[in-house]
């Protein structure tokens, strides 16, 4: 059987078998009824022939299931288009050289963890001198003036500092994602930036373990960086994008 990219489904050991595994908890006590409930949930998820391979009593009226089934759905892989950052990634030296030669001025970057988020691990890894995994942070770049405002910075304060420092780019980090607080924070920042007429004058970039470039674009940002991002990834995006915009006379 040949693979049909317009109808792709999950794979176990035979093409189009649709096999997959899920695990979940139901708020009911363990027993035959719970098992049947789990099976019915799987059917509604579009799984054929669901089989509960593990049922565990979690106490306090909760039951955990591991379940295998065969997915009945397919997706059209051939039509999928994902926005991607286009330019190639530059090294520490290349970024500095590009800024120096093509922009001829220093680039100001303001960064913060906003809202109630106190987790600075991500922003520190990107900005601070030391960087992460042996890659220098933005503070170390001779052609970048980086300002790390730290944690729990209100959105309006971040924007005020960006204006004050005449920032070329704003970096915002969001680690806590409980109840989608990160989306609220990020949306608010964009709205404030637009209200203050800042949005088009500055690159708005967000990052965090649950952020993707796609999500960032959807929220109205210029770029997003997820898990595994290193400082030079962000630096080369900023440098290349600023050069591109300058060329286009923006």
């Amino acid at each position: 059987m040949d693979l049909d990219l317009t109808k792709v489904k999950t794979y176990g050991d035979t093409l189009n078998d649709g096999a997959l595994q899920v695990s979940f908890t139901l708020p009911v006590p363990a027993g035959d009824e719970a098992k049947e409930a789990a099976r019915q949930i799987a059917l509604k998820m579009g799984l054929e022939a669901p089989a509960v391979t593990k049922m565990a009593d979690l106490g306090a009226g909760f039951t955990f299931f591991v379940l295998y089934g065969k997915c009945t759905h397919t997706v059209d892989y051939s039509k999928i288009k994902i926005p991607k950052q286009q330019q190639k990634v530059l090294s520490f030296k290349e970024v500095n050289a590009l800024i120096k030669n093509k922009l001829g001025r220093k680039v100001a970057v303001v960064a913060a963890c906003t809202g109630s988020d106190a987790h600075t691990v991500g922003i520190d890894a990107i900005i601070n001198m030391k960087g992460y995994k042996g890659e220098y942070g933005l503070e170390r770049y001779s052609e970048i003036d980086a300002y790390n405002l730290g944690s729990q910075v209100p959105n309006d304060e971040l924007l005020a500092r960006a204006v004050e420092l005449n920032a070329d780019a704003i970096l915002v980090s969001q680690v806590v994602t409980q109840k989608n607080i990160h989306l609220e924070n990020l949306t608010e920042l964009i709205e404030l930036a637009e209200a203050e007429g800042l949005r088009d004058r500055v690159l708005m970039i967000c990052g965090g373990p649950r952020i993707s470039h796609e999500l960032a674009i959807e929220l109205g940002y210029d770029a997003g960086f997820g898990a595994g991002t290193l400082p030079y990834h962000v630096a080369s995006y900023i440098a290349a994008e600023l050069v591109r915009r300058e060329k286009n006379g923006k």
């Binding site: 979690l58 106490g59 306090a60 988020d117 106190a118 691990v121 730290g150 994602t177 409980q178 607080i181």
Partner: protein, 521 residues
Amino acid sequence: MDLDRNKVVLARETAGKIADRLHSWIGDYTTTTTERAAARLLGIDGVDKADVPLPNVMVEKLEQEGILNRGLVPWLARAVVARNESPQKIAEGLAEGKFDVSSVPDCPKNEWRAVADALAAEAAAKIKAVKNKREEMKKKAAPPSKPMLYVIVATGNVYEDAVQARAAGLQGADIVAVIRHTGQSLLDYVPYGPTTEGFGGTYATQDNFKIVRKALDEAGEETGRYISLVNYASGLCMPEISAMGAIERLDMMLNDAMYGVLFRDINMRRTFIDQHFSRMINAYAGIIINTGEDNYLTTADAYDKGYTVLASQFINEQLALRSGLKEEQMGLGHAFEIDPAMEDGLLMEIAQAQLCRELFPKSPLKYMPPTKHVTGDIFNTYLVNGMFNLVSVMTGQEIQLLGMLTEAIHTPFISDRYLSIANSQYIFNNARHLGDEIIFAPGGRVQERAAYLLDEACKMLQTIEEISLETAMEQGLFADIKRSRDGGKGSSGVLVRDKDYYNPFFDLFMNRSKSAEGRLS
């Protein structure tokens, strides 16, 4: 491990000198939260019309009058003498504007001192009663096998936390921590009432403590065990949270001497003064503290900077002794954070864990799971957590914060917690006496690493002793984070004590005769 005993003595003595140097000035100051903690210990609770906690109202008014530097208790005791009301009534009256600070007349020192000491003794007796109750309950319960299983709940809604905490207890957790709202460390007050909409956790409030305590006691009752409750005496209100915990029978508190400075950018002086009173309260209440050395390894590399953990443990130990904590109350922290891709990384983890065990034989060591190198591949994380559990049981760790297979994805689901407990129970049981059977090859990789760590920790401690801990933190010796001496949040809450300063709890909690002794061998 064949450690150089002279080095061990040297490390401890040097850390002792570092702690003494801090204590040469800590006693000259007080802080707003120290005074608010005294108010809380005396039973003052509740908020005013604007939702400001009454301890804050009192402290602010005393500060406006310029007499907070004498301590909150002397004024309160005089108000009790003058008005013949309870401390709570006085706080309420003051908040409602029925009278003001300056309207309370002075009275002979022996008179207000007697009242102050009697009130404090009564408060201390209540805390002692709570401590006794814990001990009684523990006696009746089945003793936990070690390492003890520590899990976290973090729903943001305390009522949901209570459900999850109870379930965790029924599943076999020995210790449950309710994760605190990420924003609380920088609040200069303790919020009031139950939290139902927190982000990244619930606030440490007295009501929240009560609600989860009850849920865990119920789960303990059902399973014939005692389940410990943990919260965070950290941030800008360290001593106040300790006071609330002492009243509500918290069993453990995250309570590090340096964490706030490094990771929350809180003013150094503020933190060192606050940790002292906070730990004193914990000491008296029989609460086990957990120190936060594991955090260093989330910003610095665990292999390169393993010795900083050790140096910090020695400093935390010496500071804790100076606040009256017994070694059995010091859950010194470390973590399993070496990159899993490293060849022989497991051996390096064993070396560090075994070294901690031998250096701090009475400490209920707190061992933290891998977080830095786990990125959402739940199957891999589950396996790495298994290795972490193996090292723990093998090296006799005591407080095992269980790794969650969904670390770096979301706050734990109920099933994540179940799976982590199942993982650890399997390994702890299956390898129960592994440690008894192991002798490390003399001069082998593990012994060599341990000797290296001890050596480097000694050097670091000697450097710190020379330049002072404050300067060391300015230079970024811990966690690669630099903090300026006068910077950071909360510095305005530090006051130089007046010569007439009085806080009866310092004497009550400290067992003065024993306090000066450091553990020197």
